[in-house]
Subunit: 344 residues, 2 copies
């Protein structure tokens, strides 16, 4: 029986993940059953959000990995065997199949994220389906274009700007002629934003965050693309222009928090600013992307207008240390990827 | 020297206002100075919101009446003397000139609400400028049409539906072919809403408020026109349809509360629902009304499509008892007005 490598969760991280929190294992390559497909993993994306899946306490609305289970995470894979009519050997797909060399999936029993998505290798290197041309890119597109309706000359602020979504959203803002200011944690990440072409940056961990933001946005903010919620959002909101727009993508600040957090109640101030400034606030999700999102992102990429920077580590065994590095100050620029195998 | 009557605040109401909290006084009719205008009060509107102005503790963002001062409130008046080029004797105007038979105003030194607004007596009875054809009507128009973009067949929910704004907003919803459900406090007010033509009603004071609302909106809510904030809004939000719209007019629940209220923090749940349902939430104000708001409201009124029900008491001296009655269970239907004098 053929065997493969996989990465299991050995210990719940206490604070930042360490390489020792993970264990490389040998396991049999699984066999696809009725309606199932066998995938060979080509690329893994080491998204920081994976950290939420391995918290000791399961977090509301977040996939949870129990001790001993294979690590969760997005991957691009090659179909090697298929017992499903929609997939054929040789197809490249993107799905959340985890840190393993092979995976079996049942497309008809997939969760709300849907079955593995086909990736067109003619369009761009297939690993871009994990970043700029995949769900992060589509999320950025929906937020900036459909929901945020960014206009030339506007001042746009992005939170989690150093992330995969923020990086593409910032580029879309620039493509559309806006002035783009990113929020990130720490002076290094802020400096990296400026290098990537952001017009300004503000460090939410700095005591003078609000002042940094005000200096970067002297005329106020037209559009805020938000990934974090909490105090960062309230600080930005206080600097929105009258009639400004807020596109709410997510709320990292509230992961692990249910409907109510520790007091005081910040909803009164939220309503006060919403009303006083006649703001428009809209929630959205990358799943709302229409086909034009993919088409536009691919065209921008092909024409050299959209960069998809990547930092690549080789081999599944390198995943634990690389993932831990995300949290210990390694400042990769671009999407952190693990190249697991060749598509052969 | 000519004298007039005015109503002063004799005591801060403890809970509901009582007639004894007010004092009828004689005062000299004031003389307009440079740039000023002398107004003769024709009508007063006894809006429940006036209660906030006479709280012992001044409330954030709300006009405050100190002990002994003349009561605050909206009025329609006749210009009797003018030292201002924009106003001529015989003009009818609407402004917040208070509970007095005569008032002097300085249009160039008015607060953020702007100078007294001209009222066209040919359009409709002038007192409608305090309700359906005035700021309450325009606020309803902006919220339902410009901000809420109500569509035929939609389910619309209004909070503070028994109020002046809610009454017009509900009618606009019906005019546009929507199903309109009102939220009010107590079974009597809810019954009055149904009599006025609302398709459903829910009593926010009832323990089964959420269930009442769900029964009235079995398919969920497309548009919520909100005047109250707080727990009512969160209850409604949980019943919004995916992609639903919330037009935020005000937040009675937060009057007297600054940016932060007593915990827990309800913002996480707000963000969670906003994002999970991809809601659109927009703050607005009646001041945003374009000229088409007035034109449309007047045309609907003229064509008999918009009712402007009123309950009238006669004479300034009747104001205190009538105002107190608002809070002690008198269930007036329509705008509560004091007819102070004839336009002669």
């Amino acid at each position: 029986m053929a065997t493969m490598k996989q990465v299991a969760l050995a210990a719940y991280p206490q604070g930042n993940p360490r390489p020792e929190d993970f264990r490389i294992e040998d396991a049999p390559v699984p066999e696809p059953g009725e309606g199932e497909v066998l995938l060979k993993t080509l690329w893994l994306a080491l998204d920081p959000l994976i950290r939420f899946a391995i918290d000791e306490k399961p977090l509301t609305g977040i996939t949870h990995v129990a001790l001993g289970e294979v690590m969760y995470g997005p991957a691009v894979s090659l179909v090697v065997k298929s017992n499903h009519p929609d997939y054929a050997p040789g197809d490249v797909v993107e799905g959340r199949t985890g840190w393993r060399e092979y995976a079996v999936v049942a497309p008809d029993r997939s969760d709300y994220r849907g079955p593995p998505r086909k990736v067109d290798p003619a369009l761009a290197p297939v690993q871009t389906a994990l970043g700029a041309l995949g769900m992060p890119g589509e999320t950025a597109y929906v937020g900036m274009i459909d929901t945020g309706r960014v206009q030339a000359g506007e001042t746009v602020v992005l939170s989690a700007a150093a992330g995969a979504v923020g990086g593409v959203a910032g580029q879309i803002g620039k493509l559309k002629g806006a002035r783009v200011v990113g929020i990130a944690g720490g002076p290094e990440k802020c400096a990296a934003l400026l290098e990537q072409g952001f017009d300004g940056a503000a460090d939410y961990k700095a005591p003078d965050f609000a002042q940094q933001l005000a200096r970067a946005c002297p005329e106020g903010i037209d559009l805020y693309f938000d990934n974090v919620g909490g105090e960062v959002t309230l600080t930005v909101m206080a600097q929105m222009k009258r009639g400004g727009r807020m596109a709410i993508c997510g709320f990292i600040a509230y992961h692990g928090v249910g409907m109510e957090g520790p007091g005081p109640d910040r909803l009164p101030g939220f309503f006060r600013m919403l009303n006083a400034k006649s703001l428009e606030i809209r929630g959205f999700a990358g799943m709302m992307a229409g086909p034009e999102a993919r088409t536009s992102l691919a065209a921008w990429y092909r024409d050299g207008k959209l960069a998809a920077p990547e930092a690549v580590v080789e081999g599944l065994e390198a995943a634990p240390a690389a993932f831990a590095g995300v949290f210990s100050g390694n400042s990769f620029v671009g999407k952190l990827l693990v190249k697991v195998s060749e598509p052969t």
